[in-house]
């Protein structure tokens, strides 16, 4: 039933669009095809402006996909004749770029927020997408970002992270005499993971590696893996226990587990803990690609880089076990922190053009193909194509096998400052100049202060 509804809406939207174009051709602009209004909700918003006369300006968040977006924008112009400008903010400066771009007359018509926290700040600039076509195309309501009952953002990519491992090396360990764990499939809890990592570390020369885990670099190019992604796990389990999806005051119930896994990362590592403060993301990536480490905590977005050195069947991904919850059922961490928002102060034509563009990206043959194959994205839309990404496939298999994915709760982390605070405390802890209590303080007390700030 829902499908026909969408089809009808799409047909009407196209009809309205064509009518608009025809009228524009006659030079009688300003006549809106209001005749179609009231028939379905979906085309109501598309109807307000004339998409063919509008322009799209997309401020992209992901530098690694800039090239693919430029190509897609060009393809869209060739097909529809609508100009799409894509600009990409330099890594780590999206907030600053967005602020300055939004101040301009030619502000982005399409931008992104990272979840509820970003929405609290930019919500007043977001067009209500509740009845738009793109929201109707989502595979689940969970991927719509809502505020006060209105859908203001749409997730456009689903990503997964966990502990990526080098299958060849891990198998080599399993086949060794010193191995307690004799098969990769047996690794299904923190204790097992620790045993494996400790034994690899103890026999690193025999295995020809520098350490079990790649360096847990705390340079800003790498620290997000721990201050954000790893920190998600204690938050996830606490939310689950308390049956909440957000909180103003985190209790830190699972911080000891967080400590255990972080300890494992920094002790069974390719370098001394004191060196971690300046290790970069590239360091870890190179160590993994060169086969100098077995485990590498990272996500599906890393596939592009890894696939240059490793074949698809040489890569595996394990859930991040921290010794909490039902570990046998624990899956990979899957979610999103990328939501599209349409600028509500753009002209009606531009808004219509933008809505049509994003919907084209996630539903047309060319759009979905580009997103799946060029960007290696898994998109949460009905017409999505299967991505080539081998790491994504692992996630699909695990979910099929009945594992429960760990959701991304770091979208509820209070602020960048909070993450930086936890990151700095972890850095000091690893270096030996700070103790774990400082991490706890940054985590628990910092949460409270930063949440209070964000609520102002």
């Amino acid at each position: 039933m829902k499908k026909t509804h969408i089809k009808r809406a799409a047909a009407l939207a196209v009809a309205a669009l064509m009518a608009g174009t025809a009228l524009a051709g006659c030079g009688t602009s300003g006549t809106n095809s209001d005749t179609a209004s009231g028939s379905t909700k979906a085309e109501a918003s598309a109807n307000k402006g004339d998409a063919s006369k509008g322009k799209v300006y997309y401020l992209n968040f992901k530098p690694e996909q800039d090239k693919a977006w430029q190509e897609l924008a060009k393809a869209y112009k060739d097909e529809k004749g609508v100009e799409v400008t894509v600009k990409t903010a330099a890594e780590g400066t999206y907030e600053q770029t967005l602020t300055s771009e939004m101040n301009k007359d030619n502000a982005p018509t399409l931008f992104q927020v990272n979840g509820p926290v970003g929405l609290a700040k930019w919500g007043e600039f977001c067009e209500d997408l509740t009845n738009s076509e793109i929201v109707g195309n989502l595979t689940s309501k969970d991927f719509a970002l809502e505020q006060d009952g209105k859908t203001l953002g749409v997730a456009y990519v689903i990503e997964t992270y966990g502990i990526i491992y080098n299958k060849t090396l891990l198998q080599k360990y399993c086949d060794s005499d010193f191995a307690t764990v004799k098969s990769i499939d047996e690794i299904n809890s923190f204790d097992k993971l620790k045993t494996v990592a400790d034994e690899i570390q103890a026999n690193k020369d025999a295995l020809g590696v520098d350490g079990a885990f790649t360096s847990a670099g705390m340079d800003s190019s790498s620290d997000w893996r721990f201050k954000t992604h790893l920190a998600n796990l204690p938050i996830y389990f606490e939310y689950k226990d308390d049956n909440v999806t957000d909180t103003d005051a985190i209790k830190g119930t699972y911080l000891d587990n967080y400590k255990n896994i972080f300890d494992l990362y920094i002790t069974d590592s390719t370098c001394k803990p004191t060196e971690l403060a300046s290790k970069t993301g590239e360091n870890a990536e190179t160590e993994f690609k060169d086969g100098k480490a077995v485990f590498f905590q990272n996500g599906t977005w890393e596939y592009d880089a890894l696939s240059k050195s490793l074949k698809d069947d040489e890569m595996g991904m394990l859930p991040i076990y921290i010794g909490a919850g039902d570990e046998a059922k624990q899956g990979l961490c899957t979610g999103t922190e990328n939501y599209w928002c349409v600028n509500n102060s753009a002209s009606d034509d531009d808004k219509a053009a933008t809505l049509e563009f994003i919907n084209w990206c996630v539903s047309s043959e060319a759009g979905t193909k580009a997103m799946a194959e060029k960007m290696n994205f898994t998109i949460p839309f009905k017409d999505a194509k299967e991505s080539n990404n081998a790491l994504v496939k692992i996630d699909t298999e695990l979910t099929k096998a009945g594992k429960t994915p760990v959701s991304w709760n770091f979208t509820t982390m209070p602020s960048e400052e909070w993450k930086n605070g936890v990151g700095a405390a972890l850095t000091q802890y690893a270096a030996g100049t700070g103790d774990w209590d400082a991490v706890k303080t940054a985590f628990v007390d910092g949460w409270k202060t930063e949440k209070a700030k964000a609520a102002e």
Partner: protein, 299 residues
């Protein structure tokens, strides 16, 4: 600037007849000054009384931003950290620059080469310097089996001082060299005849005659150190964090971080902190100008 620094500048006011076309020459600079400084400055003060996300959608909140700025512990901490940094760097940079300049004006071989070498660090951007020194410090510390610079606030502080001395001393040295060369040699001859020792010549002749250079150099180091941003961002980024406060974050960086922080009031509070910052810098540098200019003498 010349109004501040040159005694001769005063005489300008006594010449009432000035050609009108002089105004035309001033116009381009004046226009740039208005567009690039006066307008944003006034708008900045205006915005500090508003809550805003972008500059043309604002909500008046009165002095609330200023109240929050003064309650912001990180702002107060950054103020004291900056003051400490300014005092130490002001003294060290000027001492180093003065003695290097002195050494390079007494006619040792290769003076010109040394002058160039010492001046060079100034040509490198602050961000690059910050990252390079970060690597250098971390490399040294790692060899000594000590943790990184970013995990210890005292080391962060001295790291910043070393970086700034290295960068700024060469520039100040050039100004001091010009100062040394301007001291008339007959004064030295006269003092020599009167039987002055080398030390007495330095204290009684050179330093008083150098006061204009000292005024300029201390003004420049004072304001540069107060407004330091790039090097701070690249060297420590404010780390480490202690009790919820970024211990090596100076005022400018702290304001920037506040401005881009979370919450709807962040931008307004950042703006208010910027205005307070401006007032502090103006008051302190005017005070310094007044104090050092009093000591200036004329030959």
């Amino acid at each position: 600037m010349s109004l501040f620094f040159s005694k001769k500048g005063k005489s300008m006011f006594r010449k009432p007849k000035r050609k009108l076309y002089a105004l035309i020459f001033v116009l381009p600079t004046f226009a740039a000054f208005v567009i690039g400084f006066i307008y944003p400055f006034i708008k900045g003060i205006y915005l500090s009384f508003f809550q805003f996300q972008i500059v043309n959608r604002t909500k008046f909140v009165g002095v609330q931003n200023y109240v929050k700025a003064f309650q912001d512990e990180s702002f107060l901490h950054s103020f004291w950290f900056t003051v400490g940094f300014v005092i130490v760097s002001l003294v060290l940079i000027n001492l180093i620059a003065f003695f290097v300049a002195y050494a390079l004006t007494i006619g040792i071989r290769g003076s010109n080469v040394f002058r160039t070498v010492f001046f060079m660090p100034n040509l490198v951007g602050g961000i690059i310097l910050g990252y390079i020194w970060h690597q250098i410090f971390d490399g040294i510390l790692r060899n000594m089996d000590m943790p990184s610079l970013v995990t210890n606030s005292d080391m962060g502080f001295w790291g910043l001082i070393i970086l700034m001395c290295w960068q700024q001393a060469g520039y100040m040295m050039i100004i001091y060299i010009a100062g040394f060369q301007n001291v008339p040699s007959d004064l030295y001859e006269a003092s020599k005849i009167d039987g002055a020792t080398k030390g007495q010549m330095l204290v009684k002749v050179t330093i008083p005659m150098m006061m204009p250079s000292i005024t300029i150099c201390s003004f420049l180091t004072l304001t540069n150190s107060f407004k330091l941003f790039d090097q701070n961002l690249a060297l420590t980024g404010g780390a480490p964090l202690k009790d919820g406060i970024w211990t090596t974050r100076m005022m400018a960086l702290n304001i920037y971080k506040t401005f881009y922080g979370e919450g709807r009031s962040a931008k307004g509070v950042g703006q208010a902190e910027g205005v307070i910052f401006f007032l502090i810098v103006v008051v302190i540098s005017l005070l310094q100008l007044f104090l050092t200019r009093r000591k200036e003498v004329q030959a």
